[in-house]
């Protein structure tokens, strides 16, 4: 037998624990200063001049907020300045990395149907957040079937403790001459020449000749329509704002579509009109919306940009970092994943967080792979978490043909697992929400 030599390696491991809260001191003049809790020492209050000494500096203090440090994640929202928005952003941030906020899509647009299904038919609990879609905002008023000016579905949700997410499948007319009908027809998000196309399975897809780059040409039909529709959405959001409601806001999602495919082909394009003219136009579009919302007094939104790397396929697609509007224009970065298991969720989360270290990262949409419901489901959310996918929130997409009790793209057992009591230290449900 061959004699083996072993080398004993001795390791010296020094563990340093940093106490990590962030103290935000607001001075009497409204200025703020952030101090790490570990540097604060004993904060003494002077009865002589009414100052509070924090970390050796005396402040004419008006207020103090204490929050978890959470690495490089910004302590303030980029545009959420109402009291409700500040509290909501703070809630997301203080839970980030500690717990995941559960969420589900409305049954298409302006209701709490899927959330109610999950509570009443499956788990006994509501998800913490419900997502509404302005997909029908262009339908003429008085249509008899949808009325966004009636904010009752949202107010009822909030009064019961729920968090609100708003998104927008920004539909545009197929052509300049197309009339938007009261039944919602005449519009689409799919770019093309404005004529319908027949798919291989015989279904028809409407397309639009609307071009994002023309939005910036004063007087173009795209320019007029873009701002007119934003005004309709803004009117609803301001109504929510006046009601004291803040929301997360996820417009222009999945903008890059297939355009980042490593092997380019005629199909490797954006699938929504807002991405069709490329990254630079998209970023201009995002910033135009951001600025217009601010100009109109919308201050209750937490902005979420959705990075698109088609279903997280990093072997076939490049990251879309050149589509990122910038740190000043969003609070969170989301990704939409369908049919991804826990390990894949973790890989995507880590990649995105590394690319955007100052932003909270969320699972913007999830569910099974439509082509293989049972073979490629969304991974169990707690397994995802334990594998390292520390999503700030997840949002399950609806499916009216799902054939399950929730009408969403995960199984009933998936919801039972996510919402069960044993997982309450990881998954936040509506009854746990406080902010």
């Amino acid at each position: 037998m061959k004699k083996r030599n072993f080398t004993l390696l001795s390791a010296i491991v020094v563990s340093i624990t940093m106490m990590a809260q962030t103290i935000t001191v607001t001075n009497a003049d409204g200025t703020t200063r952030q101090i790490n809790a570990s540097e604060a020492g004993t904060m003494t209050y002077s009865q002589t001049d009414g100052t509070l000494t924090v970390g050796g500096t005396a402040y004419s203090v008006a207020g103090i907020d204490i929050d978890t440090e959470n690495g490089n994640i910004a302590t303030n929202s980029v545009a959420g300045t109402t009291d409700a928005a500040k509290r909501l952003y703070r809630y997301f941030r203080n839970n980030y990395g500690k717990k995941v906020i559960s969420s589900v899509m409305a049954d298409v647009s302006w209701n709490n149907t899927c959330a109610d299904n999950i509570k009443k038919n499956i788990t006994g609990k509501w998800p913490a957040m419900n997502c509404y879609d302005f997909i029908h905002i262009q339908v003429p008023d008085g249509n008899g079937w949808i009325d966004y000016s009636d904010i009752t579905p949202v107010t009822e949700w909030v009064e019961k403790g729920g968090i609100v997410q708003l998104m927008w499948h920004f539909n545009v007319p197929c052509k300049e001459s197309t009339e938007v009908k009261s039944d919602g027809s005449g519009v689409t998000c799919t770019p093309g020449d404005g004529n319908p196309i027949t798919n291989s399975d015989g279904t028809i897809t409407q397309t639009t000749a609307f071009r994002a780059k023309n939005v910036f040409i004063e007087g173009s039909w795209e320019n007029k329509y873009f701002y007119a529709q934003m005004d309709r959405v803004i009117a609803v959001i301001l109504k929510l704002q006046e009601a004291g409601i803040a929301a997360t806001w996820r417009p222009f999602h999945e903008a890059a579509g297939n355009s980042t495919a490593k092997q380019q082909a005629d199909w490797t394009k954006a699938w929504f009109w807002w991405g069709y003219d490329g990254a630079d136009t998209f970023k201009k579009l995002w910033i135009a919306m951001f600025d217009y919302f601010k100009q109109k007094g919308v201050n209750n939104l937490i902005w979420i940009w959705t990075t698109q790397n088609y279903n997280g396929n990093s072997s076939g697609y490049n990251q879309d970092t050149d589509w990122y509007p910038g740190d000043a224009y969003c609070d969170m970065v989301a990704r939409d994943l369908y049919g991804y298991n826990a390990a894949q969720n973790a890989q995507e989360f880590k990649e995105i967080q590394a690319a955007y270290p100052k932003k909270m990262v969320a699972l913007g949409e999830c569910g099974w792979d439509s082509s293989n419901k049972t073979g490629k489901p969304q991974g169990d959310i707690v397994e995802c978490w334990n594998a390292g996918a520390k999503w700030g929130h997840f949002m399950v997409w609806y499916d009216g043909n799902a054939g399950n009790k929730s009408n969403t793209m995960v199984s009933d057992d998936w919801w039972k697992s996510a919402m069960k009591k044993d997982n309450s230290d990881i998954v936040i449900t509506r009854s746990q929400v406080k902010y």
Binding site: I16, A37, A40, G63, N94
Partner: protein
Amino acid sequence: MFMVVICAEDYTYLTIVQQDGTKTSLTAVGLSMKFADGNLTVNNAYTDESKTIALSSLVSMNFSNSDETTGISDIRADGNVGLDGAEAIYTLQGQRIPEGKQMPKGVYIIKKGNVIQKLQVR
């Protein structure tokens, strides 16, 4: 091999100290404090904790990982401290101390009407 592992943890509490020695510990993360109208108003929306104290009684604040709440002034005393007005004395474990019994060193809870005090016997 030499490794340095840095862990970030949050302090559990922020403790407010008043002129009379009262200490109030509140859950730190999520705490909001307002200094206005002669008062310090403290709220934690996540835990529903709240406290309002006059700024004229505020001494200091510090972070800690243990609940330092006293709720009252500490009293330093020997084992024969006068306990006028005390209706009952309890150990921190909730056991009532028989009337007239010599108390060993330690901390006790005294009930005087609606006032609850903590007593440290040295």
